[in-house]
Symmetry: C2
């Protein structure tokens, strides 16, 4: 509930009251579960990050999957967000107002991005070693380029309303990985 509101309008656009209305209880009942907005914000990002990362870990450790399949799996949430017309990645939304976030929320967002870069870097190395991928950049830099492109694609796409944009960016990234 808080996650949806944050994905659409950011951290400063939601309140205990908004959550309460959606859940069907009153404001103090929400506060009973999360004593401050910072605690609520942290919990939401933390859950988002951990859910995401558990899925990434399981696919990274699955030796049945090729690096390319792992990359395709990574792209599915971005495709889903891109298919909606009001949602972006939770951390992409929060990053726009980063300096206005409480410290605990900042830390979660930071860790989210860092973990994703590390994961992508691992997949890129694996794919290059296996001969699936061919690229000349350092894996770390290409990982950043992929993450930045996808995050950027989501927020720009939502503003322009260009429904194809996310697909196009993913296709361009894929062809860069296998082609060159």
């Amino acid at each position: 509930m808080a996650q949806e509101l944050t994905q659409t309008g950011g951290y400063n656009a939601f309140s205990f009251n908004h959550i309460a209305e959606r859940v069907g209880i009153k404001k103090p009942s929400v506060i009973h579960h999360y004593p401050t907005k910072e605690a609520l914000g942290k919990a939401v990002v933390q859950r988002y990050r951990e859910t995401f990362e558990a899925a990434l870990q399981s696919i990274a450790c699955d030796s049945d999957k090729t690096a390319f399949q792992a990359f395709e799996f990574y792209c599915t949430p971005y495709t889903d967000f891109g298919a909606s017309n009001d949602k972006v990645c939770l951390c992409g939304a929060l990053a726009g107002e980063f300096m206005a976030l409480p410290d605990d929320v900042k830390k979660e967002v930071k860790q989210f991005f860092e973990d994703h870069i590390l994961w992508l870097e691992g997949i890129l190395k694996r794919g290059k070693k296996a001969g699936e991928f061919s690229f000349k950049e350092k894996p770390n830099i290409l990982a950043k380029l992929i993450l930045d492109s996808l995050q950027g694609a989501l927020i720009v796409k939502r503003a322009t309303g260009d429904g194809d944009q996310v697909h196009q960016i993913i296709a361009a990234l894929k062809s860069r990985l296998i082609g060159n």
Copy 2:
């Protein structure tokens, strides 16, 4: 003043009072110039967009400059934002909280992105025709990829604190344009 506050914390993180304090006047004096927050927000984004676009137009029409030089010129504001540790592109910040923005502000942000994609597309076409650039994607799609990468790089970089990231992304984009 409002621009700086918005670049760091987004639309919902600044108020008439914040502006007033920075400028050294009182809240109602600010409201005298911009009767509503929506009007202030619109004026700020509009000025940002028009300043940006005037510079882009002048370089695009300058036949002394190569397409590659025009692209380098395009990247300079991103480099500057990347060199700060708290600022991103104004429209990148606003895009994160897009669904919580007033309509007039939304329109300005949308137009900003659309104009940039068009401008980049023009430069890409010119560079390919002149033999400066070699790429196989459609210019429109590569233009989106460039904009998305740069916008994404700024917001991710600010969250992670990775000072080199924006430079690395720009270098990777350049080598993609001329190399391949």
